[in-house]
Structure formats: structure tokens, C-alpha cells
């Protein structure tokens, strides 16, 4: 029953203020698709255009073969979960869940059996006669999900559904959401600004900035081969450094001040000497206690022991600050002022054009280009 969502050349503006200039995306049937981006990037706006609560100034929105641009929100057959859950406070849990079914004029027995089924599925059947003000945040979340799902919607839309929960419940509920979506097999569009949450639940993630999708891919490809500097810095932590790519005799070398190392993964079309931006994640910097070894030289500013890992904050001799995460070792933690040298894991590091718009390595999977 799951449907494909196709959006082509979507345009959204408020007056003269363009929020989404020209956005196209295909969401596969049954897929858990996440819109991820900083606040104000237009992700919620796009979701509400799909839901029908925001007007569409241009472009086409399709559920399967059905164009939904002009369809009233109540006719789109969507299930929606809101940031504040939007539970009707004057109805019991059961009445909240039934609400959508009653609007569909189902026979009473069927309403009851479906409601029971979803109350059970969300493990809130014991709360059926409670009023919402006597539910915890997690329970309200479950009611919202049951209510959205029991109408058998074509698509499930979720707008930052976990942001009002505490950290522990957030982790618990995202597993619940992921499993339910998988069991029901419904196409799901999920909005969040929390990149860890996005990676935990999604089949694919679209990273958005300023109304434009930067990168669409699965969590692994987005983390390991980000399409541009924005994606690299938004997803996970990273150190941005400036350096050069030098091509000699068909081989590419990454040069950072006097540190030089061979790169085997540069894409053929970018094989030319040029200034580049380097994104190296804290775990991709390898710390050597011998300050005279080959590598980037620097001074330890601070060290934080966190059990599994130890974080080092190092000032490079070039003046740049970098963060390094190292698995904690049994040796003494390095103190402030210790001289060290650093090498880069060339398999994992990412290199970008000097303007930051493109990753110049092979292996970038961006469905946006497809």
C-alpha cells in the first residue's frame, strides 16, 4: 500500500521572500526518508507543503500518480505527527485515536477493532480511557503515532516528533518509530535537526540548507563522503583545514604546510594541482607522541578523558585549532604544552574544491545528481 512521493521544482515564497527556490526529490515507496538541516533551512516548510498546510507557489507534488497540489489537506490521506503531538486535550486516548476513523464514516465495529489494534501496537491499550493531561511525554507520543497510523495513510509525516522528549526517551522512541514504520511498511517523511537521530532512523537522508537540498544518500555515505563542505560540517564533528592538492606524474598528493601524503581516491576530473579545503574528522587524525615524526606539528592545549575516548585540543604550528579523538590508552594522558605530530587517515579524509561546493574524491553517492 506504500506510495512513492515525487516532488518536482517545488517553489515556496512568503511575499517576495523565497524560502524554497527550486526543489525536486523522489521518495521511494516504503522508505524512511529524513529531511535534515539547521533551523530555518525550509525542511518543515517542505513537510507542510506535502501535508497541505502551506500553500505551494510552484512545482508539482505527486503521491504515486495522483497530483496533490490542489487537494485539501483532509483529502490527502496522510498521517501526521506534530512536534507538540497535537493531542486533542478534551478527548480521551481512545477518542483521539478514533477521530480519523470516524471522519471516514467506518462502521462502528471496525472503528473499535482498528483502534484496539493500534492501541495495542503502540502499547497504550491500558491507557485508552485516560485524558491526555494524565499522560507522560512518551505516552502522548505513542498516542500521536497510533492516531496517525490507524487511518492507514498513504504517507506518514513527522515534524521533529522527538524534540520535546528527554534524551533517554528520545533514544527509546526513535527505535519504536523505526520499528513501527518498518512493520507497517509506510512511506515516511521525517523532519529533524538532530543528525544523530537522523542517522539512527533513516533509510535515506536529505541534508538541506537555505531551501536547497545539498546531499541525498544513506547515513553512511553522507557521513563518510559528504557532497560538500556544508554537509561535512553539519553532519558529525570535523576539522576544516586549508591546503593544496599537488599532482605529479599522475599521482595526487595532499599538502598541508610541510606535511605531504599521497591520495589515491581523487576523482579523475579533479586531477590537477589546486588549492583545496580538507575536512578531517577528529577520529581521522592520528596522534604521534614523537614530535619529530613525519606529520603536522602542534602543541596540546587541553585533553579531556572520557573513558572510552580521550579528546585532545591541539594548536597546529600553522595557527589552526584541531580536535582529535583517540581511543584511550593505558599510557599517561598528554598534558598541556606537550609537542606532538599528527598524520591523516587518507582513506577517510575528504577533500573539497577551494570554494567548498564539491567533494573531489571518488565514492560520493549523491542521489541529487542522479
Amino acid at each position: 500500500m506504500s506510495v512513492e512521493i515525487r516532488i518536482s521544482h517545488a517553489l515556496k515564497k512568503y511575499g517576495d521572500n523565497v524560502i524554497i527556490p527550486d526543489l525536486s526529490v523522489n521518495i521511494k515507496p516504503g522508505e524512511f526518508f529524513t529531511l535534515l538541516g539547521p533551523s530555518g533551512c525550509g525542511k518543515t516548510t517542505l513537510l507542510r507543503m506535502i501535508a497541505g498546510f502551506n500553500s505551494i507557489e510552484g512545482g508539482d507534488f505527486f503521491f504515486g500518480d495522483k497530483r496533490i497540489n490542489d487537494l485539501d489537506p483532509s483529502k490527502r490521506n496522510i498521517g501526521m505527527v506534530f512536534q507538540n503531538y497535537a493531542i486533542f486535550p478534551h478527548y480521551t486516548v481512545r477518542k483521539n485515536v478514533e477521530f480519523g476513523l470516524k471522519n471516514r464514516r467506518m462502521p462502528r465495529e471496525e472503528i473499535k477493532s482498528r483502534t484496539d489494534q493500534f492501541l495495542k501496537l503502540m502499547q497504550i491499550d491500558t491507557l485508552a480511557d485516560r485524558m491526555p493531561d494524565r499522560l507522560s511525554g512518551g505516552q502522548q507520543q505513542r498516542v500521536a503515532l497510533a492516531r496517525a497510523l490507524c487511518i492507514s495513510p498513504d504517507v506518514l509525516l513527522m515534524d521533529e516528533p522527538l524534540s520535546n522528549l528527554d534524551a533517554k526517551l528520545r533514544v527509546e522512541m526513535r527505535t519504536v518509530i523505526k520499528n513501527i514504520q518498518h512493520d507497517v511498511g509506510i512511506t515516511c517523511v521525517y523532519v529533524t535537526h538532530d543528525q544523530e537521530e537522523a542517522m539512527a532512523v533513516s533509510d535515506r537522508i536529505a541534508v538541506m540548507n537555505a531551501g536547497v537540498i545539498q546531499h541525498i544518500g544513506n547515513p553512511k555515505s553522507i557521513y563518510q563522503r559528504p557532497a560538500n563542505v556544508f554537509v561535512a560540517t553539519f553532519i558529525g564533528r570535523t576539522n576544516m583545514l586549508e591546503g593544496e592538492l599537488q599532482v605529479e606524474g599522475g599521482k595526487a598528493f595532499l599538502c598541508l604546510s610541510d606535511y605531504r601524503t599521497q591520495m589515491d581516491t581523487v576523482a579523475p576530473e579533479y586531477m590537477q594541482s589546486q588549492k583545496i579545503q580538507i575536512s578531517v574528522r577528529p577520529e581521522e587524525l592520528l596522534l604521534n607522541r614523537d614530535a619529530n615524526a613525519d606529520g603536522l606539528k602542534g602543541t596540546v592545549q587541553d585533553a579531556v578523558f572520557l573513558g572510552l575516548n580521550t579528546h585532545y585540543f591541539v594548536k597546529l604550528d600553522s595557527g589552526e585549532d584541531v580536535e582529535i579523538i583517540q581511543e584511550s590508552s593505558i599510557e599517561e594522558t598528554l598534558g598541556k604544552g606537550a609537542r606532538i605530530s599528527l598524520t591523516i587517515n587518507t582513506e577517510k579524509v575528504n577533500l573539497f574544491l577551494a570554494d567548498g561546493t564539491k567533494n573531489i574524491l571518488t565514492g560520493v553517492k549523491n542521489d541529487l545528481d542522479a
Partner: protein, 551 residues
Amino acid sequence: MEKNKKFELWTVMTIVFFLLFLLILVYPMFGILKQSLYDKEGALTLANFSKFFAKKYYTNTIINSFKVTIVVTLVSLLIGIPLSYFYSFYRLKGAKVIFVVSILCCMSAPFLGALSWIMLLGRNGIVTKFFLNVFKIRLGSIYGFKGILLVQALKYFPLVFIYMNGAFRNIDNTLIEASANMGCTGVRRFFKIILQLSMPTVLAASLMVFMQAFADFGTPMIIGEGYRTFPVEIYSQYLGENGRDYGFAAAISVIAILITALVFFLQQWATGKFRFSISALHPVEKKPAKGIGGFLMHLYAYLLIFIGFAPNLYIVYLSFVNSDGAVFKTGYSFNNYRLAAKKLLVRSINNTLTLGVGSLIIIIVFAVIVSYLVVRRSSPINHAIDTMAMLPYIMPGAVVGIALVMAFGSKPFALTGTMTIMILNLVVRRMPYTIRSASATLMQISPSIEEAAISLGASKLKTFARITVPMMSSGIVSGAILSWVAIVTELSGSIILYNNKTITLTMSTYVQINRGNYGTACAFAAILTVVTILSLLIYIKVSGSEDDIKL
């Protein structure tokens, strides 16, 4: 794309209410302005205004009104704020009693205080006589400025009290602790922190007291005697013994509106200077009121509400004292009620209930729809509707009355003397308050709850009826009961519009006082008081928490 702009119900509502408000709000106000600018021959003239400003007799009415209202406002603040401070920051014994009695004081009919104080301190008042006979002391006159001040200050300080309770409750305890931490406590903290934080509310309360006191017709009419205020002047120019002068009454009305508008904008401007928002995560913990200070606080609170409420009780008592209608005698009987029954008592009660229920239903329906249009369908035209709905806020009751007579008294409408115009007056007068409280309630309801209903397949109308209105209902009900009391005790507009067929309890009371039938008046007033008290007790029961009171 074009289909989105289909003609929906709310667009129809917008058009209907825009036209309706033009008819019942803008047109009468415009009519008053027009009337004031034309002479009897229909020529454009400023004669009405120059007549007003030429004679000290007339200008004095406005100056008098202004003077007494300013003093009333200040005195109300002066006695109301300390009461609220003690109530909000200390654990007073019988706090609930203090609160309920305060509401009863400020919701009683506007002129009952005047009537009662005349019975106590007037020329033949029992206190006056007692002092004269026992101590041979002649008490000063209660009539005039002093009387108005006494009656109005005692009626409006509870308004300040209720407003300030809300403000004090929003002060976060950590702010109090922080100021103590930096060595600022006691009286200094009250003025430097607590009062400063409550300034927007102080201003809001001041405006409320000013508007109500300025427009009060009954009190100055009964106890003012030679001290003429402008609502009395409008009334006497309109109905007066010296012959009717609509043009001149209209001119006074225009001047009154200008003054209230000026005060309104001045208040808005001043409030703008205190723009900050606070919300208490840690509400203030009430301290026990111990020792001599605690005793004085209790004394202050109870003395104040006693003086405020005693007049009402005294009137109920008097209603059972034997009288021939005008003069009280010894012994107790139902004589006053028997006499009242001959003076349209049944009709008055019937009319009061009919008018009250009728206008209340209309007000609620209007308020719900208008607040929805304003809050959820923001558009220039809906904004205009909101602004129009607030017009009566700056129109004193007597002015509304005059405006309605002028607008609907003649040819196409000819509503004078009908129940319709009485209801119209009540709707126009009370609507701004109800719309305000309905809008405030609606603003607190997240739009996503309505969106959830729509996404679950409910139509917009069904969402409104099944989700929005029920969620607003608590706000609507608490607003409605206060509107009900205000409607039942309304005098200043109705006095111009009523006749024998549409007379109400309030009007009957006033008529009897005017004729010197104090005994009969007390019977009417006692019934009115009982109706008010019962309504408010129901209100407190329904609203559940005393803390949620909205005026």
C-alpha cells in the same frame, strides 16, 4: 492553484462581520460626529462645540469628570496594590474569602454603593443621625466629589487587586531571591523589582479603572448632586428638563470619546515602555504572615473588603425593613417587596433574564467567530474587524446609548423602545471584553491541533466545531459569566434606551431611587445583588481555580 481560493465559509464570515460591524459600530459613531457638526437646519457648524467651550458650566463637567476619575484611579491603585501584595506574597488566613468578596464588590451594580452610602452617611443616614444625636457632631457632607470618590474607589480597588494578583503570580521566585542575594529586600525590593516587573499590569489596571469610572453614570447622578460630570450632562441634554438638544449631546459625546481615546493611546504608549515578558517557572512561595506585621496585614485586608462589601449587605438588610416605599420605619416586613411587585417587579426580572441571556448568546457567538477570524485568518480586512470591535472600548456607556438612538431611532430602523436596541446596546458594550478573552484563549491553542484534525480527514467546519470551540470553551465560559454580571448591572447605556416595556432590574432600582422611593429601591437592589452573587458563585465553581479569573 485557483482551486485554493475557492469561496469558503470563513470568507463569508469575514464579509458578514465586516458589514455588520460597519453598521452597528462605525455607523453610530459616525452618526454622533455628524450630529455634533450640524445645526437644526442641517447646516455645517461648530456652534455646538463653541457653545460647550464658551460656558464654564459645560467645560466644568468634563474637568470634573477628569479630576474625580484621576483621583479615583490613583486611590484604587493605592489601596488595591498593597492588598494584592499581601495576598500574593503572604499566607493570609481566609485568603479565599478575601478573593471572593473582592470580586463581589467590583461586580455589584455600579450605583448600589452610592445608594447605600447615602443611607449611611447622607443627610438622613443612620450614621449621620447617630453622630448628631449622641455626640452632637455634624458630619461633613457625603455628596459631591467626596461621595463619588468614596463609592468609586471602593468599587474599583478590587479590579486593581485582581489584575495585580495575576502580575504578582508571574514573578519568578528566583528573581526575588536574586535581589535578596544582592542585598535588596523589603520595601526597596517592592519598588525596585516587584512593582517594576508588574508595571504593564499596573497600567492595564489603571486604564480599566479609568474607563469604567469615567463612564459611570449612576454614581455621580445619585451622590454627585452639584458636582456635575459629563455622563450626567449628556443624559440631561438628551432627556433633560431644559428641552432636548441632540446636537449638543452629540458634541459632548465627541469630546468624551476624544478624551478616552487620548487616555487609551497614552496608556498604550506607556505600556510600550515596559515591553518585556516574564513567566514564572518557580512561582513565589507565600510566606507566613506572623507577628505584628501579619496582624496589620490581616486587619488591612479584612477592613478593606468589609468596607467594600458592607454597602451591599446593608441594602439587603434595608430591603426587609418596614417602609411605606419612601421612608423607613421600625420593624421588619416584606412591604418593600410587595410595593416593588406593583412597580413592574415581575416584568423587570423577566426582561433582565431575557435581555441577559439573549445578548450573552449573541456576544459569545460573535466573540468566538471574530476571535477565530482575527487569530487564525489574519488578513487586513479581519484586522479591520478587530479594530472596529474595539471601538466601544473607548466609548462611554452614555455615548453608546446616544449613538444607538441617533443611528437606529429613525426611519429605516425605528428601533427605539424595542428589546432589539437594548440587546444591541449590551452586545456593543460588552463585546470588546469577550473578544479579547476569546482571542487570548485561542492564541494559546496550538494551530497544529487543528491541523492534526484536518490531516485526519475532518473538514474545516467540523474541526472548528469539534476541536477549536470545545478547547476554547473554558475561556469562553469564564468570560461569559463575567459578561453576564456586567450585562445585568448595565445602566449608563440602557438608561437612555429603556422604556416601560423594556425596563430591567437595574433600571427599576434607579427609577425608584430617582423618585425617592428608597424602600422599594432597596427591594429591587437586593434582588439584583442576589442575582449577581449567585452568578459569581457559579462562576467560581465553574472556573474551578480562583487564579484563572479574567475580566
